[in-house]
Structures are given as C-alpha cells and as structure tokens.
C-alpha cells in the first residue's frame, strides 16, 4: 500500500442528506413561482402540421420555439440540437412546448388535452435501416454521425494468411441512468438577470446554453447548482435542455418557473446508454495464437447526435482492451435512428466494447480448450507499448496485480472447474479484464488557460476550494478537501468547498469521464503550491490556477494521433453466478472487482464507487431491459437492482501510482461498471455450456440459447 491518506474522512454533506435538510431542486419554492409541464411528441418522426392547445385559464401560457428570444439550440455538442422541436420531431418524447401555470395537476391535464398533428416521415428503427438508406436520412446522406478508425499492422493480410478466422457478434441494449432524483430546474428572472437552479453535472455549461437561448451575454446568467440526486452522466445533457426551456418560460412570464420531470417522462425522454452491435474477428495461427483482430463497432444514436460523437470516440479508442495485438483495426460508427435518445452514461462506450472483446476472447479460449487468463496474458499491454493511436503507455500497469488479487480472493483457479450444481441449478465463475483511460486527451494545440480551479484563503484562515466540479454523490468534494488539507498541511476541518455557483467559481469543465481527480486534482495541488507560499499573508488571498495537459500527453485532434488518454486504471472482474435451469434466472452470488486506481485518497469513497458501479453494471448485464425501438416508462417495467439482487461485491484495491496524478491517484468513477457484463456473461457461459452474446442476459435470451443447442 502506498497510500498517503490513511483515514477515511466523513463527508460534509451526510448529516443534511440523512435528516432531509439537503436541498434538491425539487425542494425549492420561491414566491410567485409557476410550474411547467412539457408537451411532447407522440410520434418518432414527422413534421408538425398543427398544434391545438385547449383554452388556457387566466395566468396559464404556452411557450415554444417561437418564444425563444435567442437561439433555439444547444451548442455544446458537435452538431447543434434544438431544445424545442423546430417544426419537426425526431423522437417520441421530444419536447414541443411547455405549458406554464400555477397548478401542476391542471397543467398535466391540459398537456394531455393538447393535440399535435404530424405529417409522419418513415422512422428509422434499427441500425440496418440506418445503413440501408431506404428511408429519408436523419443525418447527412448516410445517417453516420461519426466514423473513426484506429489501428496498426496488416490486418487484412493476417486474415488472408490465417489458419482459422474466428468471429463473434455481441449486442447490448439501452440502459437508463435511473438517478433517483428526476431531472429538474428552477429559473428565476430578475431585472436584467436570470438565475437558474439546476441539478446538473456542469453549471457553466448550463449558463452558456441559457445565455444563448435568451440572446444575452453569459454574465447576465447565473447558474446555481443544487444538491444532485445522482448523475452517472445523465445530468450532463438533459439539464441543458430543461434549463434553456425554463429560462425562456421564466423570461416570457416574468415569473420564476419550476420544471420537474415525473419518473415517467424521465424514463421516456432523457438520455440512455447507446445500444451497440459489435463484431470482432480474429485471425488465428495454426497453434491458436492471435495474429490480428478486427473490430467493427456500431452504436445506435438517436434523432440528434447529442453526445454520440464523444461516446463513440472514447469507446472506440478503448476497444483494444488490455491487449497489444500484433495487428489491429478498430472501426467505430455512431448511427442515427428515431428510437429513444441515447447520450453520456458512466463508462462512455467502454461497457459495450469490453463486452464485445472479452466475450470474443472468452469464447475463443473455450473453443480452443485453453485457460482464458493464460491465453490473454500472452497479449497484455506492457509499459512502453504503443497505443492504437500511435501514443505510448508511459506508466506501469497494475493489471497483473489485479488478476492476482481477484483470482486469489475468488479462489478462481481452484474452484473454476469444481463448482457444485444443485438439482435444478448450475453455478459458473467468469472473468473479464479491462483498462479505463481517463481523461480523454484534448487537442494539444488548444490551450486550457480559460479553464481554472481556485483556492481562497479567507482572513480567518479558512481555505475554500473554488471549483465548478459537481458533487453528485461520488464524494469528489471530500476527496478535494483531503488533497488540499494534505498539501497545505492543515487540518481538513479548515478546508471547505465553495458551492457550485457560476458567480463564485470559475469555468472549468463538465464533471464526468472520470477525470476530476486525476486531472483537475493535480491542478488543485498546483494552486495549493502557490497558496502555500502566501499562507501567512494577512487578509484574503485568492489563487486561480489554469488547467493544463500533463507533459507526457500529446494529442493531434485532426490526425487522431498521440496519447488518447492521460492515464489508465486497470481491472479484473470475476463473477460467480447461479443459474436456475427451470426459470433461466441468473443470480450473481459474488462479484470480485479488483481495480488499480492509482493511489487511494479515501478508501471508503473508493469502495462506494466500486460497489455502486458494480451493481449498476449488474443491472445493465441482467435486469435493465428496454426494447431497442420501444419504450419503458415506469419502474414497474424497467427493473433496476434492489437489495435482493445486489450480490456481495468484493472491492479489491491495487495502487499503482500515476506520477502526474495528485499523489499518484488515477480514476475510479467509471471503471467498476465496465467489466461486469463480460464477467457475468462468461460465468453464465461456463455454467450453461452456451456462449452468451447479448446483454442483458434475460431468461428469454438464455432459454433461446439453451434450446438452440
């Protein structure tokens, strides 16, 4: 253990969260406040021909694209996206207008009575339809939002010369974030100013969007972050839409407007994990060794690209897993469809790609009769190896240690072949290996000077962290307080975190992609270094420290060459499952998650991320089922893990320090989720003797696999 941080720190937010005092956006009420309810598209694709709103009582209004004083556009994404349907709709649930007034129940009734008529356009339901080109395209001429290729070596030559070619195709479905707090915003107009209270993962991004929507300068908009009831990537995109819509409504009415989603509309229309279909082909030598791997990765996007490009990009860069193949080609494409809208979600394209690659290798090992971990070991990335984008793995990898930790704790080698079967049950052990790069490198030609984090020493000696990075449950503010206290050698009680308020903290970044500690934690320590020299000065001292890429990172965003990520976490996942051979229900009995997260800042927080992430991954793998071109709008249909589904998660922490990170820390937010799917699938395959190529592994799917044999 190389932790410099021994004791766990009590989170500052726990008491308020326990006694109901914490203020989430839904808890805010201000004088004269109106409510808003969204009227949505009932069709997947079409041109709006008429909108008939019932006669509205006095004090009730409708607000739509025509009322936007600035631009009806969220410009955060690669391709612009309207926040009110601009005369046409691209998915069911797309916001067409808001009804605003005093009584939410009355508004819901009026919304149900509003009639929108459409000229329907044939909707694109599947990735095949998107590629076939038989229907009018949603995007460009080919429905491809983004296409990327990475790799090295002669893959086609290897396939031509191979003794055998082995191919697998895996599919994964939607997953809803299901943060327990539904989306919400409160917009309060003041004289020449608009204040937005929002549950989001980036207050400055919301400010930019609101300013553009109102046609104002950014300084006229203030965004205050409320307590966030869970994010997981799902409070990056949707809050921008809600913020823009409610700001327009508040401006229009001259009164505060609160817009809170019901669970039903949250499930219907907010972003979800991208469904995928990924084909992996390997060229094998006569002795079964892998000469080359070819990966073709398709992600099903929605009617607007939103963050499809970012998700596809990071997922594709991660697709080679923990391996350095002699030759590899990865092709990733994000496609348009008129199905429910996908977006950013914990794992960002990695869960889909790791399910594809690990499942391929596990199936190959079974086919060749080889021990999978030994087969994989021959291909492991070593320090100094090249990345698939021509960069380098600069630092030591902790992969081997995670394998030792997980296999020993699980008794993997000993128990693998000797698990007891019941009269109508079978058991299996499965494994998967992952790496997780974070953060995604940004163009080295772009300076990060406009992004900064700050520290303020107050005259009474208190130190305040000025950062827009959001505490959404993960414990970031606690980790930051510990870093600063340690670096300044002060009791942690003296260090607090400023509230997320764009008037008080500088622009830095969206909170996501597991980059807050590994990248901005280092920036925070640079600020602390500067403050340290001035701690004895009387009065208030404020340091603003710009972010910067670490010295080893070079990324050419035009050529897509260089280091795709700054640092890598490494992990081994082992799942033990029990399969009921009558109902085909899969129960995960134990889950071992060994992660190399670099130096640990707070062990209890890291364990919390591992346990929570692993159980969310279990939901993705077994339970959370939303038809790919259909809808689940209630928690009665869309099941997430409960107390009874969650297995014993054994979090095993390996610490291989990453020198540029704060005290050697890497990332931990996303890695615990990304390897759960392939480990469970491998365990089910070992238990049942059939290969598993789909997540979630529903009883219907398993039955179908078992009877097809």
């Amino acid at each position: 253990m190389n932790s410099v941080f021994t004791a766990n720190l009590d989170r500052a937010d726990t008491p308020d969260k326990c006694d109901g005092g914490a203020r989430y956006v839904h808890d805010l009420q201000v004088a004269g406040m109106l409510h808003a309810v969204t009227v949505r598209s009932s069709v997947r694709r079409g041109t709006i021909t008429s909108i008939t709103v019932p006669e509205l009582p006095a004090g009730y209004v409708q607000v739509s694209a025509a009322d936007v004083p600035g631009v009806n556009q969220i410009s955060y994404f690669k391709d612009p996206c309207p926040f009110f349907a601009p005369g046409s709709v691209q998915y069911r649930g797309e916001a067409v207008l808001l009804l605003v007034g005093g009584d939410p129940a009355k508004l819901h009734r009026l919304a149900r009575q509003t009639i929108i008529e459409y000229d329907e356009i044939p909707a694109i339901h599947t990735m095949e339809e998107a590629l076939a080109g038989d229907k009018p395209p949603i995007f460009g001429s080919d429905n491809i939002y983004i296409e990327e290729r990475f790799g090295h070596g002669d893959v086609d030559g290897a396939i031509a010369r191979a003794a055998e070619v082995f191919t697998t195709t895996t599919e994964t479905g939607y997953q809803d974030h299901l943060y327990l707090e539904p989306q919400g915003v409160l917009a309060c107009p003041e004289v020449d100013r608009m204040t937005i209270y929002v549950s989001s993962q980036g207050p400055h991004a919301a400010r930019k969007v609101v300013a553009a929507a109102l046609g104002w300068d950014e300084a006229s908009v203030r965004v205050i972050q409320t307590t966030v009831g869970g994010g997981f990537g799902g409070k990056i995109e949707p809050p921008m839409f809600l913020a823009a819509q409610s700001a327009v409504a508040a401006h229009h009415c001259g009164k505060p407007v609160r817009l809170i989603y019901t669970r039903e509309e949250d499930l219907l229309c907010t972003t979800k994990r991208h469904p995928s279909r990924i084909t992996v082909t390997s060229a094998l030598a006569a002795d079964g060794s892998i000469l080359a791997v070819d990966i073709d990765s398709l992600f099903q996007g929605g009617g607007y690209s939103q963050s499809c490009a970012m998700v596809l990009d990071t997922g594709t860069k991660k697709a080679s897993g923990v391996y350095h193949f002699p030759a590899i080609r990865v092709r990733g494409r994000g496609l348009a469809s008129n199905n429910p809208m996908p977006g950013a979600f914990r794992g960002f394209g990695a869960p889909q790609n790791y399910f594809a690659l690990e499942t391929h290798l596990n199936a190959l090992a079974r086919k060749l009769g080889r021990e999978p971990l030994e087969m994989k070991r021959a291909l492991f990335i070593k320090q100094g190896d090249a990345t698939i984008t021509g960069g380098r793995y600069h630092f030591a990898t902790g992969l081997d240690e995670t394998i030792s930790a997980a296999t020993e704790a699980a008794g993997y080698y000993r128990r693998r072949k000797a698990l007891p079967a019941g009269p109508s049950t079978r058991r299996g052990l499965g494994q998967a290996l992952v790496k997780f790069g974070a953060p995604n490198s940004v163009d080295s030609k772009i300076s990060l000077d406009s992004r900064s984090i700050g520290l303020r020493k107050h005259s009474d000696g208190r130190i305040e962290i000025l950062s827009e990075l959001v505490e959404m449950g993960q414990g970031l503010h606690t980790a930051f307080r510990k870093l600063v206290a340690r670096h300044l050698d002060l009791p942690v009680k003296r260090v607090s975190h400023a509230p997320g308020d764009t008037d008080a903290v500088p622009f830095l970044s969206i909170t996501g992609a597991s980059m807050s500690v590994v990248l901005f934690g280092a920036t925070l320590l640079e600020a602390a270094d500067k403050l340290k020299a001035r701690l004895d000065e009387p009065g208030e001292v404020t340091i603003l420290q710009p972010a910067r890429q670490p010295d080893h990172v070079f990324w050419d965003a035009t050529a897509l060459r260089g280091e795709p990520f700054h640092s890598y976490a490494w992990g081994t996942f082992i799942a033990e499952v029990e399969v009921d051979m009558i109902t085909y229900q899969v129960q995960v009995v134990d889950l071992w998650v060994a992660l190399d997260v670099g130096s640990v800042i707070d062990r209890r927080l890291v364990q919390g991320q591992i346990e929570g992430g692993a159980v969310q991954g279990l939901g993705f793998s077994l339970l959370e089922c939303m038809p790919r071109d259909g809808f689940s709008c209630s928690l009665t249909d869309y099941l997430i893990p409960t107390f009874l589904d969650a297995p014993q998660v054994h979090g095993l922490i390996v610490e291989t320090p990453y020198p540029p990170g704060p005290y050697g820390a890497k990332c931990v937010g996303e890695p615990p989720l990304v390897g759960v799917g392939p480990a469970i699938a491998d365990a089910v395959a070992n238990a049942c003797g059939v290969e598993i190529y789909q997540l979630p592994i529903t009883p219907e799917y398993l039955l179908q696999r078992m009877t097809k044999r």
Binding site: C18, G20, H26, G230, R263, G608, L635, F643, V649
Partner: protein
C-alpha cells in the same frame, strides 16, 4: 372535486389542511407543509424515497390520498430526526459510507427505523428482505445494510 378540511397529526402536532381528498399525501407534505425531506423518486410506489410512518407503519406517501389519513398520525423524516433512534441511524449511515447522492437516504432511514423497532437485531437477509422496496442507485446497497447492522449494535434502549 370539492375541497375538504382534513385533520391529522403531523410529527406530533395536530394539523389540518383544506384540499381535495384525492391530493397525494406526498404533495401535501412537500408543497403545503414544506416538509421536503420526503422525496419523490417515482410517484408510483416503486422506489421508497417517499417513505413515511402512517400510524407507525412504513408507508409510501406517493400512494396515499390525503382523504384517507383523516385522524391518523404521520411521521416524516423531519419528525423522526428529533428522536434518539434517528441520531444513531444517521451516525451509522455516516460511518458505513451509506450516503452518496442522498436522495434515497431519508426513505432508507424511515424504513430502517421501523425495521429496528420491530426486530432488535435483524440479520443481513432480513434487512435485505425488509428493505427490498427501497431503491438506491448509488451505493450498491451493502453499505446501507452495514449501516443498519451497525445501528442495531449501537441502539441500546433508544427505541
């Protein structure tokens, strides 16, 4: 529907409210009495975030019409927090790391309080069974189970 005067006991105080009898208890608590510690996660009885005690029984306030509680006793987290039992539970939730985003937490504490009132020292599987209607998306549940085990060992005679 016409308004009625509904009277009940709220956190030991007698109260009354003029409302339509089909108004949901959760809305009356949150919007009228401004007791926002009771959370709405789903509004359809599936998540447990809105858990309160109705005549001492753990009850989902999103499923209760206000008309049905005339003359009854309601305890919300704002009432529970005055009790020694709450202090022990909150400390245990803190120590076990059972609170992340916190949106499920008041509901979890309400049901945990009722569970520990009915069972002095529940084992892990009784805890998991009793709490199965309360969802948490952040923690993966084990730390919440641990918190309740911890509270059971520290409770003394507090409730």
């Amino acid at each position: 529907m016409n308004s009625h005067l509904i009277s009940f006991q709220l956190n030991t105080m007698p109260v009354s409210v003029e409302t339509t009898p089909d108004a949901r208890l959760i809305d009356v608590l949150r919007e009228h009495f401004r007791l926002t510690g009771t959370k709405e996660g789903c509004g359809e009885g599936e998540c447990g975030a809105c858990m309160i005690l109705l005549d001492d029984r753990p009850t989902l306030s999103c499923l209760v019409a206000i008309g049905a509680i005339d003359g009854k006793r309601v305890i919300t987290i704002e009432g529970l927090r005055e009790t020694p039992g709450f202090a022990i539970l909150a400390q245990a939730f803190n120590d076990a790391g059972a609170v992340q985003c916190g949106y499920c937490t008041p509901g979890m504490i309400m049901i945990a309080y009722a569970l520990l009132r009915d069972q002095r020292d529940p084992d892990e599987s009784s805890i998991r069974r009793a709490m199965a209607g309360n969802l948490c998306r952040c923690t993966g549940y084990a730390m919440i189970v641990e918190a309740i085990r911890l509270a059971a060992t520290r409770r003394g005679q507090s409730w």
